[in-house]
Every structure is written in structure tokens, then in C-alpha cells.
């Protein structure tokens, strides 16, 4: 029974995030179109139904599946094939630690709406996201193409400059919520300040959030920080890839957006917490309560989590369609000279304030 529940959780979480990933490509197309006063892809259809382009991700998938699975003759065939899978695996495995909701009580059983309640869940996600760089380095190296190799080396250099800041920006947060368990971090954010402001991470760690968000943007390797890929002019690490393997790299990118969004949501925006919603219903700050059944509360929590994720995906796409790419040295500067000092400052400040308030 336990195994069945775990299996069901894995399948549901994976399917849901893959669906989100698919439709993130649709969101990216449509949002960029609306930003640029266009309409965006709306031609993919089944019969007469176009559904504002909602079939487009499937059309893309079918196209990629039926393309030739090409491996250049000079490449290392095994590693060339392994790289995209490795890259995708490390992103997909982080879903295990994402807390979708609180405990669901059903038929006398209490199910944690998180696949694995790791005590170091935060470290697990960060570690797996960092390991994703192996796919990129491997793809550049196994392609035996200088441009691809240069792309992956740029990726590695970028990783070195943002990963430190990403880790350090969260130290202040861990000091405030003395836990690395994502569920207890979220549970802590259910409290209120002055009885009515939700005590979300952004309120306690505004500077930490800014540093985290910049580093997380670099983590997704999209436009303001797309050194490894450089889709507009320089050649990226997947120059020698095509078809479904290239599609896997793209999926990795899009899933990274979702993972980063869910991480930002979980750590700084209360995860599945809805303001003033406790386990038995809403407790309004102006007094009174609106009691809700358990199922509705869990549904509201799931909905809140997904709405927050989608908002952050929207924000990241907005950023991707607004800014030009940072130059190589500018990313290094931003990482080493701005984000790391700011995160160190954040740690010292957090420590001082905590000592002062004790």
C-alpha cells in the first residue's frame, strides 16, 4: 500500500510537471507574442479546433519524435547519447523534493503531498540542479565540436559564478527558518506577522530573495544569462544535437524554469500556504472564520502552489523577452562582485537582526 501510494505520487507529480513543461512552451510563445503585439502560434489544429494554439506543444513533440536521430560520425556515440538524458534526469529528479501541499487525510491515512520528505530537501534540490551541468559539459565534450565544447565551458564558467551566490543567498533563509526540510519551511510560513501579514520568506529575506532570483535566472540558462547556449548568435553546447535529443535539452531548460519557480515559491512565497488559511478553513484577521472541509483546503493549497509557480514562470518569461544577453565578463562581475557580497551582507544582516530580536 505504501509503495502504491509512493508510486502514484511519483507518476502524478511527474505527469503534472511534464504537462506544465509542455505548456510552458506554449506560454512562452504566446506571452512573447502578446508582449510584442503579435498573436503567436495558433495554427496547430485538430479538425476545425484551433483552441488558441493549445495543440502546438503536441505538434512540436510529434515533429521532434519523427526527426532523424543523428549522431555525428566524429562524436563519442555513447556519451553523446547519454548527455541529454543525464541533463534531463537531474532536473526531473528534483521533483521528488517539491512540496505540492500539506498532508492529505484520506481513509484514515495521512499522505504527505511531497514524494520524498527529505530532511535536507533544499540541499537535495540545489545539488541536483548543480549536477545538471554535467549533461552540458558532457554534451559539449562528446560532440567533439570546438564550438560546442566552448559553449559547455562557458556554461561551466557561468555555473561557478552563480552557484556560490545561489547557495549563500539561502543561508540567511535557513537561519530564519531553522530547517532544511521544505515542508517545515513552508509550514513555518503559515504564521502571520502582527496577526495579519503572512510571514512569507520574502518579508523576512528581501535581499536574499533578490540574490536568489538573479542566481536562479542564471541557473535556468535563459536569455539574460544564456552564455552556454547563445541562441541568437554564438553556437551553444547542443550544436551537434537534433530531434528528440535536442528536445530533451529544451525540456530540461523549461523544466528548470518550473523547478526554480517552485523553489522560489516554496522558500520565499509561502509554498502551498494561502494567506489566513489554516488546516480547518480561513481565519480572517478581522475576526471570524470560514470553516472549510479538509478536501477543499487541500485543493486550495494545491491551487495556490500552482498559481504561484505559474506566476513565476510568467515572470521569468517576461524577463527573457525583455533583456539582452549579459556579456561573458558581465556575468562574472555580477556573480562575483555583486551577488556574492550582497548575499554575505544578507547573512551578516540576518544574524545581527536575529541577535537583536532575541
Amino acid at each position: 500500500m505504501e509503495i502504491l501510494i509512493i508510486f502514484l505520487k511519483i507518476v502524478l507529480a511527474l505527469v503534472w510537471f511534464l504537462t506544465l513543461t509542455l505548456y510552458l512552451t506554449w506560454l512562452e510563445r504566446k506571452e512573447s507574442a502578446v508582449i510584442q503585439d503579435r498573436i503567436g502560434a495558433n495554427r496547430a489544429n485538430i479538425g476545425r479546433f484551433r483552441m488558441i494554439g493549445l495543440f502546438q506543444p503536441f505538434a512540436d513533440a510529434i515533429k521532434m519524435i519523427f526527426k532523424e536521430d543523428f549522431v555525428p560520425p566524429f562524436a563519442n556515440k555513447f556519451l553523446h547519447t547519454l548527455a541529454p538524458f543525464l541533463s534531463f534526469f537531474f532536473v526531473a529528479v528534483t521533483i521528488a523534493a517539491v512540496p505540492f501541499g500539506d498532508r492529505l487525510l484520506i481513509a484514515g491515512k495521512s499522505i504527505n503531498l511531497q514524494i520524498l520528505d527529505l530532511h535536507a530537501g533544499l540541499l537535495f534540490i540545489l545539488a541536483m540542479l548543480s549536477l545538471g551541468i554535467y549533461g552540458i559539459i558532457l554534451s559539449g565534450w562528446a560532440s567533439r565540436n570546438r564550438f560546442a565544447l566552448l559553449g559547455s565551458v562557458r556554461g561551466a564558467a557561468q555555473l561557478v559564478s552563480y552557484e556560490v551566490a545561489l547557495g549563500l543567498s539561502l543561508v540567511g533563509l535557513i537561519m530564519v527558518f531553522p530547517s532544511l526540510r521544505l515542508q517545515s519551511i513552508v509550514a513555518f510560513q503559515g504564521q502571520n506577522v502582527f496577526g495579519w501579514i503572512p510571514k512569507w520568506g520574502i518579508l523576512l529575506q528581501p535581499l536574499g530573495f533578490i540574490v536568489f532570483f538573479f542566481s536562479a535566472l542564471a541557473e535556468t540558462k535563459r536569455v539574460p544569462f544564456d552564455l552556454p547556449e547563445g541562441e541568437s548568435e554564438i553556437i551553444g553546447f547542443f550544436a551537434e544535437y537534433g530531434g528528440l535529443k535536442w528536445g530533451l535539452f529544451m525540456m530540461t531548460d523549461f523544466m528548470e524554469i518550473i523547478i526554480v519557480s517552485s523553489l522560489a515559491t516554496t522558500l520565499f512565497f509561502g509554498g502551498w500556504q494561502v494567506p489566513w488559511l489554516a488546516a480547518d478553513g480561513f481565519h480572517w484577521p478581522w475576526g471570524g472564520a470560514w470553516l472549510l472541509p479538509h478536501g477543499v483546503v487541500v485543493l486550495l493549497q494545491l491551487l495556490a502552489f500552482n498559481v504561484k509557480i505559474i506566476f513565476f514562470c510568467w515572470l521569468q518569461i517576461l524577463i527573457r523577452w525583455t533583456y539582452p544577453r549579459f556579456r561573458y565578463d558581465q556575468v562574472m562581475d555580477l556573480g562575483w562582485k555583486v551577488l556574492i557580497p550582497l548575499s554575505l551582507l544578507n547573512i551578516v544582516g540576518t544574524g545581527l537582526v536575529m541577535e537583536f530580536l532575541k
Binding site: 508582449i35 510584442q36 517576461l318 524577463i319 523577452w321
Partner: protein, 157 residues
């Protein structure tokens, strides 16, 4: 570090501009979706095959040869169009016309549209106003090169 932070405001301003575009356009898209017609649209797109923009009167589209009252081509095979054509896509072969007023008529008049650059010089060069580019036909793609060679029969249509 101070310099890098100095960009910060401009970065936010750029984000606000795209955000404004997004929000405004979404409002107009949503208004249209619920059936309220507004003067301004959310997108400037013209959805081409279904919706067409009106072609301007001076637009240079597919050529046509004009006819006299009796149905013969107005062309007198002076070869001015073939001479002026920068892409050398017009080929005219003259034949003698029984009417001494006309003297010559085109036995063969071929425009190779795969070479034509639609500059309209042939129209301007023609002394008889025999060739014009006002058919309004702009979808000229063909599956074979042969389909793009327009002869007298096709041009007189």
C-alpha cells in the same frame, strides 16, 4: 558594484515596459474574447490566408498584356521592355502584322517569373501601354519551374 547597481533602475524600467505591453494587449485580447469590439486590437497581426490586407492601387503584382478592341495584344514588339528589364526575364519574338499601322505583333511573349524582380520598369518603358502590373495576383508560387514561365496565352488572360 555601485556602477552595476546603477543599472538596476533601468533594468526594472525595461521590465515594466514589456509588462505594460503584456497587460494592455491582454486587456484588449480579453475584451475581444468576450465579444466586445474595440477600436484598438491586442495584436497588429493580419491573419493572412483568411484575412487579407487591401492591395494598394500602385502595388506591382502579376503582369498582364492589354488587348486591342479586336482582342489582339496591344504590344507592337518594340522590345523596349526586354531591353530595360534588369533581370532579363522578358523574351519577345516579333512577327509581321498585316496592318501597316501596327507593323509588328508578338508571336511569342514570355516572362520568366522565377527571374522577375517586380521592378515595374517594363511597364514604365512600354510606349503602347501594352503591359501592366495591376492584376492584384500576388500568390505566384508554383511546384515546378515550368509553372512560373508565363507565355502570351497566360499573360493575355
Amino acid at each position: 558594484m555601485i556602477k552595476a547597481l546603477g543599472y538596476f533602475w533601468e533594468i526594472i524600467r525595461g521590465g515594466l515596459i514589456t509588462c505594460r505591453h503584456f497587460c494592455l494587449n491582454m486587456v484588449f485580447h480579453l475584451l475581444r474574447a468576450v465579444g466586445i469590439k474595440t477600436e484598438r486590437r491586442g495584436a497588429v497581426t493580419i491573419q493572412y490566408p483568411e484575412e487579407r490586407k487591401e492591395i494598394a492601387s500602385r502595388h506591382r503584382s502579376l503582369h498582364r498584356l492589354l488587348k486591342r478592341e479586336d482582342g489582339r495584344p496591344r504590344c507592337v514588339s518594340c522590345l523596349l521592355c526586354a531591353t530595360v528589364c534588369p533581370s532579363e526575364c522578358i523574351e519577345v519574338e516579333a512577327a509581321e502584322d498585316p496592318d501597316p499601322e501596327i507593323q509588328k505583333f508578338p508571336a511569342r511573349f514570355v516572362i520568366d517569373l522565377s527571374r522577375c524582380c517586380f521592378c515595374g520598369f517594363c511597364v514604365e518603358a512600354c510606349p503602347e501601354d501594352a503591359i501592366r502590373m495591376d492584376t492584384g495576383r500576388i500568390e505566384l508560387a508554383g511546384y515546378r519551374r515550368q509553372d512560373l514561365i508565363y507565355d502570351l496565352e497566360k499573360l493575355l488572360r
